[in-house]
Assembly symmetry: C2
């Protein structure tokens, strides 16, 4: 949080748009067979040879989706890619290419964009996607990142939000609520820092939470895992806005209801302990927290034996008929209606 | 330019993100065979059945790329789509799908976004592309539009910037410089309006210029025309930043030089007359003006008879070897080096 005044600052205007794009993208390698042509022409050229092609796009805006006070630019670049790929994985598809557009105000020197692109490059390497295009421009204020991801899958593997059927089991990957609590810790530290800029926070005990917020991972592994387990999910969505909101999306689009069991919701011990510290209900945090980028999906009951031993997967409930509604069955065995309180980016 | 205080204003926060997306996209129809799934899941699903898929993205930012003082929102929506499709057509490909992401500050009521989307919808209809996804969020200031376009073509038809060969002819579609002069007229009127808000400008004589600026069209017709004429271009690029800049891109990527003949550059009579009025050199305007969204391409000399009678196409020069450089042959028959003075969005 302390700015080093000696950091080199190269003005963006020295490079110009094309020079800047060349500079920032010079390390991006093409590795995907489906990438026929990457950056450098009017458009990229992809070749999916008859497979279904998947396309998704996300916009991240400074002051709305991220705060550069505690979000290092490298992490931001990484997270921007991950958030986008998560939508491809939520189709049970393989992500293969991304385009990255950025707008920056002149308060960002070249070195800042290099950091951002280093994060993008790292994510592209780890998730094995090619950066095949983009646009770079100035903004009147702040930083903005728009990423579009492309992927593919065989038709019979592709999984929509709309395929859940009565009696299917509701499954989540990983654990929930940690990213939101990581944000709470960072917000608290920002306030401490604003009061006392010399404070040296000890954040060791919050490492998992902060990592989940600043460097989330998308579940690239799940499509492969389900294939290996010989399970074809009936519906799937990623958990970006909180479990409640996503269960409701999935049920609404599948025209079904669901029972989610409070005691089954997977929580990391660090989430339970930080919730005590902040005097928050950990179930509420898991239901409404958002930014976990885990996957929520449904499977047929008969597939349960194939997944039950897997530590990555937790059955949290089951699908019921539409009229029965979408409810949380509490530890006290009461059913209360689930409500989407997920994050709303369109607010006053 | 006069705000009607009685226009209904529906706050965006009343709708929420998903409500807003549903509301704005409810009229978007799916017409393309290659669109397997449109808006509503984690990602769109496209099916190109073995064809090469083309992908391009653009970012338009208020205060950088457009000025809402004289750019009606409906025109802006239309133009944002057109600008993007132009890159697909510059691959000699067919555009089929777009995703549209927008960020808006709360000073925009719902009705403003409806105008914007009406323009997007009109463009999607006219250019026959499906809107298959997007993202809608708030911004801290102003309006921002990010569009990604997808298209396809058979491999042997796809045309890159890098294919121009010595002795090929350099061809442009339509005429150049009008969009830039339209902007000059609008900027002048804006200044007049700022001094006297009651002035009623008579812009009739500038209709063509203003239309080229506010409602440009992309050359969807050229791929079909060239196919009908049995001409396979050797290289192609769209003219977004001005002829100079695009000739240089094409030559650099093809590792060749070019002679462009000043007297051959196609100018509309309205451009010639407005340049006299503004005391500007019309050649300079055509070379550096930008935003014409015409296409620049090269063909083999032997194909000249096939195109020479076509009013849409003008041969403006030819390709020479790389060492001879990229030059403008003036009316006085002097060769001067072409320089890219096109618009630079990364500026102080």
């Amino acid at each position: 949080m302390i700015e080093d005044k000696n950091t080199p600052r190269t003005s963006l205007s020295e490079l110009g748009e094309f020079g800047l794009i060349r500079h920032l993208t010079k390390n991006f390698e093409i590795k995907q067979e489906t990438t026929h042509l990457g950056i450098g022409d009017d458009a990229a050229v992809l070749d999916f040879d008859g497979k279904k092609c998947v396309l998704t796009t996300d916009l991240l805006i400074e002051g709305v989706h991220f705060d550069l006070t505690y979000m290092p630019l490298k992490h931001l670049g990484y997270k921007a890619v991950v958030v986008n790929l998560s939508d491809v994985y939520a189709m049970n598809a393989k992500a293969t290419q991304i385009t990255v557009s950025i707008a920056v105000s002149n308060r960002f020197p070249l070195e800042a964009l290099e950091e951002l692109y280093a994060g993008i490059e790292t994510a592209a390497k780890i998730y094995n996607v090619d950066v095949v295009g983009g646009d770079t421009t100035s903004s009147t204020t702040g930083l903005l990142i728009s990423i579009t991801a492309v992927g593919h899958a065989d038709q019979e593997v592709l999984t929509y939000r709309s395929g859940a059927k009565e009696n299917d089991l509701l499954v989540v990957t990983g654990d929930l609520g940690a990213a939101y609590m990581g944000l709470q810790v960072l917000e608290r530290e920002k306030q401490v820092f604003e009061v006392n800029p010399n404070s040296q926070p000890d954040l060791d005990q919050y490492t998992y939470l902060i990592e989940r917020q600043l460097k989330p991972e998308a579940r690239k592994d799940i499509a492969e895992l389900l294939k290996a387990l010989d399970v074809q999910p009936t519906s799937m969505i990623d958990i970006s806005d909180g479990l409640s909101s996503e269960v409701i999306h999935l049920c609404t689009q599948s025209k079904v209801g669901a029972n989610v069991y409070e005691e089954k919701i997977p929580l990391d011990p660090a989430v339970i302990s930080i919730c005590e510290e902040f005097k928050l209900n950990s179930t509420t945090v898991a239901l409404n927290g958002g930014e976990d980028y885990e996957l929520l999906f449904t499977i047929k009951q008969e597939d349960f034996p194939k997944i039950k031993a897997n530590p990555n997967l937790t059955v949290i409930g089951h699908i019921v008929d539409e009229k029965s509604g979408i409810g949380l069955v509490t530890r006290a065995n009461e059913k209360i209606a689930l409500q989407a309180q997920g994050w709303n980016p369109i607010k006053e």
